[in-house]
C-alpha cells in the first residue's frame, strides 16, 4: 500500500474496467458468470466451514467418518446378522449405496438452514448468495471422497476389486450426483428463508427419500418384479438418486448374481443385469436432465433472493 501511495497520483485508468450492473433481476448468464468469478470464495468457504466444524475437537475430521460408520455397522448387524438377508459381503453393498446417499443428505441437511443461519453475512456483504449453499455441497463432496477412499481400503481388505470396465461411467455418475445435490441444496436454502419449518420438514422427507432409494435393500432382488407387475417401475425411477446408487453398486459391489449365504444353492439376483451401454445412457441422460434442473434451481434462487432482506 505504501508503494502505491508513494508512487503518487497516478492511478490506473478505469476507462476500460469492466462494468458491473446491479439491477432488479440478473440474467442466468450473469448469475453463472458471477458464480464462476467468485470460485475462490467458494473454496475458502468450504475449507473454513470444515475447519470451524472440527476446530476444537480432538479427533477432527474423523468425526465425519464415525456417524456413517455407525450407520453402516447397524444396518449390517440388523439386515445381515439378525434378519439374515443372505447377501454376501452385505457391508460392501451398503457402503457403495451409502457414500452416494451420505453426500446428498449431508449437503441438503446443512444447506437447508444456511441462509437463515448466516443472515448477518447475507445482509452485509455482497457476493452471490447461492455460494453459501454450494459451500455446504463442497464440504459434503470432501466427506464423500474421504468415504470413497475408505471404501477402497475396505475393498482391499475384503480382497475385492471394482468393475474396472464400468469405472469410466463413475465420473458422469458423480457429476450427476453433484448437480442433483447442488440443485436441491440451493432451492432449499432459499425456500427456508420464507418457510422456516422447511428444516424440520426436510429431515422427515429425507428419511422417506432414503427408504425410497435402494441403499439398504436390493432393488432387483426385492421389488423390481413387483413394481414391474403393477407397471410402476417408471415411478420408482422418478427418484433421480436411484440410478446413481445402482451405478455405484454396480461398480463397487460388482456382482449381479450371488450365491445366498443362507442357502448354498439359491442364487440371488442383487443388481440389475444391465449392459454397460444401458448404464452409460441412463447416467448420461440423467446428467443432461440435472444440468437443466440446476439452471432452473439457480433461476428460482434468483427469484427468491430479491426479498431475503425483508424476511431475514
Amino acid at each position: 500500500m505504501n508503494d502505491a501511495s508513494s508512487a503518487g497520483i497516478q492511478r490506473r485508468s478505469l476507462d476500460d474496467a469492466p462494468v458491473r450492473v446491479v439491477s432488479a433481476r440478473a440474467s442466468l448468464r450473469t448469475r453463472l458468470r458471477n458464480l464462476w468469478s467468485r470460485r475462490e470464495l467458494l473454496t475458502s468457504l468450504v475449507f473454513s466451514d470444515i475447519r470451524i466444524k472440527y476446530k476444537n475437537s480432538a479427533l477432527g475430521i474423523f468425526w465425519s467418518m464415525l456417524s456413517p460408520a455407525l450407520t453402516l455397522g447397524i444396518y449390517d448387524l440388523v439386515f445381515s446378522v439378525i434378519t439374515k438377508n443372505g447377501y454376501p459381503d452385505f457391508a460392501l453393498y451398503l457402503f457403495a449405496g451409502l457414500v452416494v446417499w451420505n453426500m446428498f443428505q449431508n449437503a441438503v441437511n446443512m444447506a437447508t438452514g444456511v441462509i437463515v443461519d448466516r443472515a448477518g453475512l447475507v445482509k452485509k456483504v455482497s457476493f452471490p448468495r447461492e455460494i453459501l449453499a454450494l459451500a455446504n455441497v463442497g464440504a459434503a463432496v470432501i466427506y464423500f471422497f474421504i468415504q470413497l477412499a475408505v471404501l477402497c481400503l475396505f475393498m482391499l481388505a475384503l480382497g475385492r476389486s471394482p468393475a474396472w470396465g464400468f469405472l469410466w461411467i463413475l465420473p458422469i455418475s458423480f457429476a450427476t450426483l453433484y448437480l442433483l445435490t447442488a440443485s436441491v441444496a440451493i432451492v432449499m436454502s432459499a425456500v427456508t428463508v420464507y418457510l422456516r419449518d422447511m428444516k424440520h420438514l426436510m429431515e422427515v422427507l429425507l428419511q422417506l427419500w432414503f427408504w425410497l432409494s435402494p441403499v439398504v435393500y436390493s432393488y432387483q432382488h426385492t421389488i423390481a418384479q413387483r413394481l414391474h407387475d403393477h407397471g410402476l417401475t417408471w415411478m420408482y425411477f422418478l427418484n433421480p438418486i436411484t440410478p446413481i446408487i445402482l451405478t455405484f453398486q454396480r461398480i463397487f459391489y460388482v456382482k449381479t448374481n450371488v450365491i445366498s449365504t443362507n442357502l448354498p444353492h439359491s442364487v440371488l439376483n442383487i443388481l440389475p443385469q444391465w449392459t454397460m451401454s444401458t448404464f452409460f445412457y441412463m447416467n448420461a441422460s440423467l446428467f443432461v436432465i440435472m444440468v437443466v434442473v440446476f439452471l432452473v434451481a439457480l433461476t428460482l434462487f434468483g427469484r427468491l433472493e430479491g426479498n431475503f432482506e425483508s424476511e431475514l
Binding site: 478505469l14 458491473r20 456483504v125 455482497s126 419449518d197 432482506e309
Partner: protein, 382 residues
C-alpha cells in the same frame, strides 16, 4: 474523468409484515393473516459519481441512505432501476460482518479478502500491510472470538482499505475505534483521495462531510432532495431537519422562527486579523420564544474553527422582528474567508431555526504566521 458509479432511477420497496408467522402451519391455516404494507425506502434516485470524487450522503435516520448504499454495494437488489459500477468496490458497511469468530485472525483475513473478491495470492501479497495497519500482530493467530471489539473492527477496516479498491464505500464506521485509530482512518481516506479513488461516505455528521467531501447528496424520506456543493447540500439538510421537527410537533404551540439577515453596522464583513467584529442577526418570530443562540464558524475547507455553544446564551424572542447582537471581541484568524452559521436551538438542543452560511467574514492578515489562527508566537533564545 470517468464515471465510476452511475445510479439510474433506483427505487426500493420493502414489504412490512404485521403479525406475520413464518411457519408452514400458520401459512396453511391462516393464509391471509397479518397485513402487508409496502414501504418505499427509495424513490427514483439518480446520480453519478466520477473517479477522483468524494461524495457524502447525508440524511437522518430512516431517510434511506443505508438502503441506497446497500444497493450500490450489491447487498440489496433494487426494486427497479439499475446501478452501473466501474472498477472494484470495497464496502465498509458493518465492519467485521464477514468474520467467522471460530477462525483465527489470519484465516479471517483470507476469508474476508475472498469475500471482497480477492484471490488468495492477492491477499498474501498485502497480508503484512493489513496486519501492520491493524496493529494486532501478536494476536493474528488467535481465534477472533477472543478479540476485543476494537481489535475486531481494526482488523476488518485494515482488510477493507488494503484491498486497493477503486471505490470505497464507508457507512458511519468512522465512529469506531479510539481517537488515534480514527485519525489513522481519516488519514487513509485522504490518501485515497489523493490517489484519485472515489469515496462514498454516508454519515449524519455534517462536520465530516464538510471536512472530506467534494459534493453531498441529501436524502429525505427516500427522496433525493439535494445533490450539489457541500455548503448548499448542508443548508438543505438542515432545513429538512427543521421541517421534520415542526411536523413532529403536533401541539402546534412551537413558535416558528426565521432568520432573515445578518448585517454589520459598517455593512462589511471585512476585518483585520486581531480586530473585533460586531454583527446583528435579524429574525422574525411568530410567537414568544425562549431558546439558545448558536453560532458556528468554518473555514472554506470545512474545518470547524469555533462553535459557540448554546448553553449560557439564552435569547427571549418576542412576536415579530427581533435582533440579536453578536460581539466577537477579537478575531485571531489568519488570511481567508470564514463562513458563519447561526441558529436558535431549544433547551434540548433541537434546532428551531438555522441559517447555513449566513455571513462570510473576510479576514486580512499581514503577519508571517501560517495556518488558521494567530497565536502571536515570539521566539527568543535563552
Amino acid at each position: 474523468m470517468t464515471t465510476v458509479i452511475e445510479v439510474e432511477n433506483i427505487s426500493k420497496d420493502f414489504k412490512i409484515h404485521h403479525e406475520r408467522n413464518q411457519s408452514l402451519k400458520e401459512r396453511l391455516l391462516h393464509p391471509k393473516s397479518g397485513s402487508t404494507e409496502i414501504f418505499h425506502a427509495l424513490s427514483d434516485i439518480s446520480f453519478k459519481v466520477s473517479s477522483n470524487e468524494t461524495v457524502g450522503i447525508l440524511g437522518h435516520n430512516g431517510s434511506g441512505k443505508s438502503t441506497l448504499l446497500k444497493c450500490i454495494c450489491g447487498v440489496l437488489q433494487p426494486t427497479s432501476g439499475q446501478i452501473r459500477l466501474r472498477g472494484n468496490l470495497a464496502a465498509l458497511l458493518e465492519l467485521g460482518a464477514g468474520f467467522q469468530t471460530e477462525l483465527s485472525g489470519r484465516d479471517n483475513v483470507f476469508l474476508y479478502g475472498a469475500m471482497l473478491g480477492l484471490s488468495r495470492r492477492n491477499v498474501e501479497a498485502i497480508f503484512d500491510d493489513i496486519v501492520a495497519f491493524s496493529e494486532i500482530e501478536q494476536f493474528i493467530d488467535t481465534q477472533v472470538k477472543f478479540y476485543s471489539s476494537g481489535m475486531y473492527v481494526r482488523l476488518a477496516f485494515a482488510v477493507a482499505v488494503n484491498v486497493d479498491p477503486d471505490i470505497l464505500v464507508v457507512d458511519e464506521v468512522l465512529a469506531v475505534g479510539d481517537e488515534r485509530f480514527q485519525a489513522k482512518c481519516i488519514d487513509r481516506i485522504r490518501t485515497f483521495q489523493e490517489e484519485g479513488r472515489s469515496i462514498l461516505l454516508v454519515t449524519h455528521q455534517a462536520d465530516q462531510v464538510r471536512a472530506l467531501c467534494d459534493r453531498a447528496i441529501v436524502l429525505d424520506g427516500g427522496l433525493m432532495v439535494a445533490n450539489g456543493p457541500v455548503q448548499e447540500s448542508l443548508r438543505i439538510f438542515r432545513e429538512h431537519l427543521l421541517e421534520d421537527a415542526v411536523e413532529l410537533d403536533r401541539t402546534g404551540a412551537r413558535a416558528e422562527i426565521s432568520i432573515d439577515s445578518v448585517t454589520t453596522p459598517s455593512g462589511t464583513f471585512d476585518v483585520k486579523s486581531g480586530a473585533g467584529l460586531h454583527f446583528d442577526v435579524q429574525m422574525t418570530s411568530h410567537g414568544a420564544y425562549s431558546g439558545n443562540f448558536m453560532m458556528e464558524i468554518f473555514t472554506r475547507s470545512g474545518l470547524l474553527v469555533s462553535r459557540s455553544d448554546a448553553q449560557g446564551s439564552p435569547v427571549n424572542l418576542k412576536p415579530g422582528p427581533n435582533t440579536v447582537g453578536v460581539d466577537l471581541a477579537q478575531i485571531p484568524l489568519l488570511d481567508g474567508v470564514y463562513d458563519v452559521n447561526v441558529g436558535i436551538v431549544d433547551h434540548h438542543g433541537t434546532v428551531m431555526a438555522w441559517r447555513e452560511q449566513a455571513a462570510s467574514i473576510q479576514v486580512a492578515y499581514t503577519g508571517r504566521e501560517g495556518g488558521i489562527v494567530e497565536l502571536g508566537a515570539s521566539i527568543t533564545q535563552q
